[in-house]
Symmetry: C2
Subunit: 269 residues, 2 copies
């Protein structure tokens, strides 16, 4: 018997329905807006030989790499994040990398799966954006229908023997009063990047041209608004890129894993 | 029997010792640094005829006017804030106002007391500054040995029939990462002004020259630092000024009422 309340069960049921739709190939696009209220996760799949070091990297860099779950080698279920998750088929589009080069963008991993693969589910800013929207804050890339702008900063991550590189940050412009409120709200979500790492002058963290993001799309910054920068889940991908592992798999940008966990479950206090 | 623990009792004993010293005229200067760990309060004493409206003003403006205690008319004890407080003698220097004009700066109110006076104890930023210092954040006016710079902003307060006027803000410059941390820390202290109301461009809140504060002293803003603005306890004085009441009493700037309450008692979460 499921002892969770009706709200929680309804959220999980909707998440499960979305995953099933994706698994059957009936939804092939980005997952933004699907199963509102449920945590969506970044996916990083690595051979066991690199997984331990990547976990250490995540431990040392919790803001860009908030680990929600790690599987045993070869396993593609994650029961603690959703009872029927199949990591090989539940993401609409994957990216398969060989020696640092994009080798395929399949909708299923059945042809690529290996028994030594360890999967990392990493928190994603969708969770805190939902809380910001619920407080009435305009999230520019959402209201402009674009992907969030992301930049390679000059803030170093805390490296391991092989893994190192700069912090990638996402940027959301807002008026100062909203920025203060956004700091309060996102501080409650350490499992999805938490509080910002910088706000104000982009040059202070090595960003030369705010209108030319390294990833994603530029967005409008209105007069009187401050750019606010959060640690970004693209950081681990960027760091993995630097070692060009013989094999790795990620989700395609914006094509996340939908879990049964409610966003509010990730909130502290 | 006092059931509070030894730490709490030691704080209260030190606060009581400082008040006794002040009462005997042995300490006549500002109270910054006295009884560390204890809440120091702004004092606003008004005739009953204006007190109810002032309380309503405070209710509508909790950030500049966080009320810690209100006395019954004529009472000069405040047992909930300290067991032996005598509001007529425990502040090193008072300011007595008649029709909006400064009439006296006595060290005791015994010659001025009236049975219709209502006293308001209002939270003061000393409490959150202590928490910021404990996190290693430089508070510029403290490290430069000055009074905090304060400005009349163009942010309106929520007025009552007679009481209205702009928000007065205090400013502390800091690097962005410290500003983010300061927002987190001061959010935990809603009883002493709470989170900032603005940061970044001073002109956006009507401040023309950051180097010319309306009250207090200018402080150095280093390259790359953001000015961060908090609602200020000078706001209620400034608002009371506008109605020029026939009689009122405040503490002299920096000469606060030391209470037995520990700063950590004011922290949420």
């Amino acid at each position: 018997m499921d002892t969770r309340n009706d709200t929680f069960q309804a959220l999980a049921a909707e998440a499960s329905r979305c995953r099933a739709m994706i698994r059957r190939g009936e939804h092939t696009g980005p997952t933004a807006g699907l199963a509102p209220g449920c945590v969506q996760a970044n996916l990083m799949i690595l051979p066991r030989s690199l997984a331990d070091e990547f976990l250490l990297f995540c431990q040392r860099n919790p803001k860009p790499c908030p680990v929600l779950a790690v599987t045993e080698p070869g396993r593609y279920d994650v029961p603690q994040m959703g009872r029927d998750i199949d990591l090989r088929n539940d993401v609409p589009r994957y990216r398969v990398w060989r020696n640092g080069e994009l080798a395929a963008e399949p909708a299923s991993l059945t042809d690529f799966w290996r028994d030594d693969l360890v999967s990392f589910l990493i928190g994603c800013s969708f969770s805190f954006e939902e809380a910001l929207l619920a407080d009435g804050i305009d999230i520019r890339h959402i209201s402009e229908g674009r992907n969030v702008p992301m930049y390679r900063s000059n803030i170093p991550t805390a490296g391991t023997a092989r893994l190192h590189g700069p912090l990638v940050v996402s940027m959301r412009p807002m008026p100062a009063a909203d920025a203060i409120r956004a700091i309060q709200i996102t501080s409650r979500f350490p499992a999805v990047h938490g509080a910002p790492v910088h706000l104000g002058d982009p040059a202070l963290i090595g960003i030369r041209d705010i209108d030319r993001p390294d990833y994603g799309d530029p967005v409008t910054i209105r007069p009187g608004e401050l750019p606010v920068f959060w640690a970004c889940g693209v950081t681990p991908q960027s760091v993995i890129d630097t070692v060009k592992p013989e094999f790795s798999i990620t989700h395609a940008p914006g094509h996340m894993l939908i879990t049964d966990v409610s966003n509010i479950r990730l909130a502290t206090l």
